[in-house]
């Protein structure tokens, strides 16, 4: 069945196409075959067996990517039995990869994808090092079918929340993380000694130190959560010190040192509607995303409420209201996250050869008046149905027919 569906040919015709990698194309066709985009442009020959979607007057974009969720890792926030994003009792949980905790049957998945979010980061939470985040497409019967890339990076926390496990001090957090990183390097140099028991005890398990090595070799990003300006500077310092590939997450006071972040070449994951001051970030403000983008930082936008990851659209619209250009914001929910997560060869743009995650919108994707008309994930059109649409239909007329 799936093989058959993947083999289908879909032609989305007549729409205004935003490939993101290049300028928009009027009255263009996006042709999809075997799960990939095979042609984009105004003069595309459409095979006779293609399923046609008339997108005249519609907007066509890549599926949106939300880099700030626990999708598949939580069903009901308050029900412990449905939460999978937190590994108990391990301060350095670098080897904890969340993938096998993902529930492909989660009701959140259809709710999210039917509003144009097709790909999300599923990230672990908590501790000094939370574990490994993975990128998933929001379609598939098994975890293997959903996975886009695993791992995407190792999540480390440099914010106020990390202090509990850092001895109650920001300096303690930095000291412990630095010790773990140094121990991992030492472990990799003296593996034989370690196995002989000829080393002093190390600050994390062999499995966790092992899991940090790709990060310390610069092969795998460190996704570093930090909000206070000084914490962001600590992250940048760590990046220089250990020659890490860093992705900065949160970055609420990032706007204050946008140039420094840009110079470090560090991309940033930002939630545009963060603006409530806390002692972790008294300087948090709506203009953060725009200021960072203007300074040349690669910015990906987030909606971090997993149940409402669909509001990534609203986040992007507000980012525009507070200074991003519309084109920057569109890029920040498509190609930019694909680049940040190292999958831009397959995701984030409507280019020939890319995975066919495509959304047809009735208008501007960021506007509330715009509806999603078609969602295609890996070349398969997914139904615009969810548990919520079933509830709506049941109670549309009262009393309901049970």
């Amino acid at each position: 069945m799936i093989a058959f569906l993947l083999a289908q040919t879909i032609a989305i015709t007549g729409g205004t196409v935003y490939p993101v990698s290049g300028p928009k194309l009027e009255h263009a066709t996006v042709l999809i075959q075997n799960g990939r985009v095979v042609a984009v442009g105004p003069n595309v020959t459409i095979p006779a067996d293609a399923t046609r979607i008339d997108a005249t007057g519609k907007w066509v974009t890549p599926g949106f990517i939300d880099g700030g969720t626990q999708m598949g890792l939580v069903e009901i926030g308050r029900v412990g039995g449905t939460r999978e994003m937190y590994l108990q009792g391990d301060t350095i949980a670098a080897s904890f990869n969340v993938a096998e905790g993902i529930n492909p049957a989660s009701t959140l998945i259809p709710v999210t994808r039917m509003e144009g979010i097709t790909t999300v980061l599923a990230a672990p939470q908590g501790h000094l090092i939370s574990g490994q985040a993975v990128l998933i497409d929001l379609d598939g019967a098994t975890i293997e079918q959903m996975l886009v890339k695993s791992p995407i990076g190792v999540v480390a926390n440099f914010d106020e929340n990390a202090k509990d496990e850092g001895g109650g001090s920001r300096a303690g957090v930095a000291e412990r993380l630095r010790r773990v990183f140094n121990d991992a390097l030492e472990y990799s140099r003296r593996r034989a000694d370690y196995n002989r028991g000829a080393m002093q005890p190390l600050s994390a398990s062999a499995a966790d130190l092992e899991a940090l090595l790709p990060v310390l070799r610069g092969q795998l990003p460190l996704i570093a959560v930090a909000n206070r300006r000084s914490d962001i500077e600590t992250v940048l310092r760590f990046g220089r010190e250990f020659r890490l590939k860093v992705i900065l997450a949160g970055a609420q006071e990032g706007w204050e040192i946008a140039e420094a972040i840009a110079r470090a070449g560090v991309p940033v994951l930002v939630e545009p509607l963060d603006n409530i001051p806390s002692y972790d970030a008294l300087g948090v403000r709506y203009e953060n995303a725009a200021v960072l983008a203007r300074a040349g930082v690669k910015v990906a936008l987030l909606e971090t409420d997993t149940h409402n990851a669909r509001n990534l659209r609203q986040q992007a619209g507000n980012a525009v209201s507070y200074g991003m250009t519309w084109e920057q914001a569109l890029r920040a929910v498509t190609l930019a996250p694909a680049e940040v997560f190292g999958v831009a060869d397959r995701y984030g743009a409507l280019d020939v050869g890319k995975v066919a995650n495509v959304v047809v919108w009735s208008g501007d994707p960021f506007e509330f008046s715009t509806g999603v008309e078609h969602v295609i994930i890996r070349g398969r059109e997914v139904p615009l149905r969810s548990r919520q649409t079933e509830l709506l239909e049941r109670y549309r007329q009262l009393p309901p027919k049970y």
Binding site: G77, E160, S278, T304, L392
Partner: protein, 485 residues
């Protein structure tokens, strides 16, 4: 970023409450009367004099609200959403001395008026959030600022949110910049009966008394479902049936208390009954002077709560959160109970699992009175956007919702839920001049409040730093908008 999400969850878990207030009185000229006169003030003057030494007969935390003096204002060439059934293209609105004087296609400007050209802009009534924890769960969100839940007893009708409210909460100016002019600040939902709400004009002020909405009656925050039964697991209630027994026991006592006082007020035989703050609040509910505003998610539980209200002869003014209200929209409309809902929150706990984005629209279709509330210091800053989402979710599902209906979800309907609908919530002559000028259609994601007038006072102007109030908290530690550290 994660703290933000956990923060939202935390508020959703315990912060959220419902409370209400009520008066449908004419606005009083300044100086304003005390908010929500307590029962004793209804006693004749003679009684007051004879019991002069008793606390019960003295002013109970009166409002000291004063209208801020300001010149008349004429806003011209705007699309005016009156929230009273009319949408006026290229319209004008004139207000003077805190009152709307005229709204229409052509309005003459008096010579002393400040004229605002609002070509291409929209004008709406000031937005009203009937479910806020501003000031009681103030930023920066520390333990020291956590004053919303008196979680020491399942029934704390004796506590008043105004006694927790911190006027220097830096979240207040953020909400003002979102076009909010009136809020109901509520105790949290840890308790079956959480205490009295505060109905406040959202203005910069040194004291909460200066913010208290003149003439507003108090609300009483009650909560059903998971929250109270989870907080008092060991001592009870630990079940939903325990919750119900808890409300009933409290109101049975309140009935007796009310009878004792009413009898004494009539005959003055012997000493006055002993004063009990808890029962005083509940007795005021039974007298109809305090409005019940009830946090409730599930449809079946809301039906139970309406039975409770019938048993004790009070009316529930609004179910708050009411995630499943669409399932019983017909019952709620028949009972004239409004529903204070989110556009799209769901899933953070089991009783919130059945959320649909068409909740407000389905209630509207059933003839009910939906309104959009925030329960969030973030959401309160864009109540217009939340209404826009809910309106469009309805329209896309084939439920015809007009812009006038949707603007009422954040203006006239919450005004009704607070009992202030004769004073605020629409743009009609005689109403209080709570007016917002928007950069565009308020239901667009790209629109922002440009000017916010509260009782005629320009409390916020996006283009003029002189009209961008900052709290003491922000000075010297939170960089001002548009500036660096």
């Amino acid at each position: 970023m994660r703290q933000v999400m956990l923060g939202v969850l935390c508020i959703a878990v315990l912060g959220c409450a419902s409370g209400g207030a009520r008066p449908a009185r004419r606005p009083a000229p300044a100086p304003a009367p005390a908010a929500a006169p307590p029962a004793p003030s209804q006693a004749p003057a003679q009684t007051r004099a004879s019991a002069e030494s008793s606390s019960v007969d003295r002013a109970q935390y009166p409002s000291t609200y004063q209208r801020h003096p300001n010149p008349p204002v004429l806003i011209r060439n705007a699309t005016i959403l009156t929230a009273a059934g009319q949408e006026i293209p290229n319209g004008s609105i004139l207000f003077r001395d805190g009152r709307i004087v005229a709204v229409g296609a052509t309005v003459q400007a008096p010579p002393d008026a400040v004229v605002v050209d609002a070509t291409g802009k929209f004008v709406t009534p000031g937005l009203i959030d009937d479910h806020s924890h501003l000031g009681v769960y103030a930023a920066p969100g520390t333990e020291a600022e956590s004053d919303g839940n008196e979680a020491t007893n399942p029934v704390t009708a004796e506590v008043w949110a105004e006694h927790s409210f911190w006027p220097q909460d830096p979240q207040i100016p953020l909400a003002i910049a979102g076009g909010i002019t009136t809020i109901q600040a509520l105790p949290g939902s840890a308790n079956l009966i959480g205490g009295r709400s505060a109905i406040l004009k959202l203005i910069p002020a040194r004291t909460v008394q200066e913010m208290k909405f003149p003439g507003a009656h108090y609300g009483l925050k009650m909560a059903c479902g998971e929250n109270p039964k989870g907080v008092y697991r060991s001592r009870g209630p630990s079940t939903r049936m325990g919750n119900m027994a808890g409300y009933r026991s409290a109101f049975i006592q309140a009935e007796q208390y009310r009878q004792r006082w009413d009898k004494w007020r009539k005959d003055h035989q012997g000493d006055p009954p002993a004063r009990d703050l808890r029962l005083e609040s509940l007795a005021e509910v039974l007298r109809g002077n305090i409005f019940v505003q009830m946090h409730c998610y599930r449809a079946d539980e809301m039906a139970q709560m309406m039975d409770l209200a019938h048993e004790f002869g009070f009316h529930i003014r609004s179910f708050h959160h009411a995630v499943e209200s669409y399932k019983i929209a017909d019952l709620l409309a028949r009972e004239n109970v409004s529903v204070s809902v989110w556009a799209d929150w769901w899933g953070f706990k089991e009783e919130a699992m059945d959320g649909v984005q068409q909740n407000a629209a389905l209630n509207q279709q059933a003839g009910g009175r939906p309104l959009i509330h925030s329960d969030s210091p973030s959401g309160i800053q864009r109540l217009n956007q939340e209404a826009g989402k809910a309106m469009n979710a309805g329209i896309r599902a084939g439920i015809p919702i007009t812009r006038d209906q949707a603007i009422r979800w954040v203006t006239a309907n919450p005004a009704w839920a607070l009992g202030l609908d004769s004073i605020v919530g629409t743009l009609e002559p005689g109403k209080m001049a709570d007016v917002v000028v928007w950069s565009g259609d308020p239901f667009s994601v790209y629109s922002k409040a440009l000017q916010v007038y509260n009782d005629g006072w320009l409390v916020y102007d996006r283009n003029d730093p002189k009209h961008q109030p900052r709290t003491d908290f922000e000075l010297g530690q939170v960089p001002a908008p548009g500036t660096d550290r």
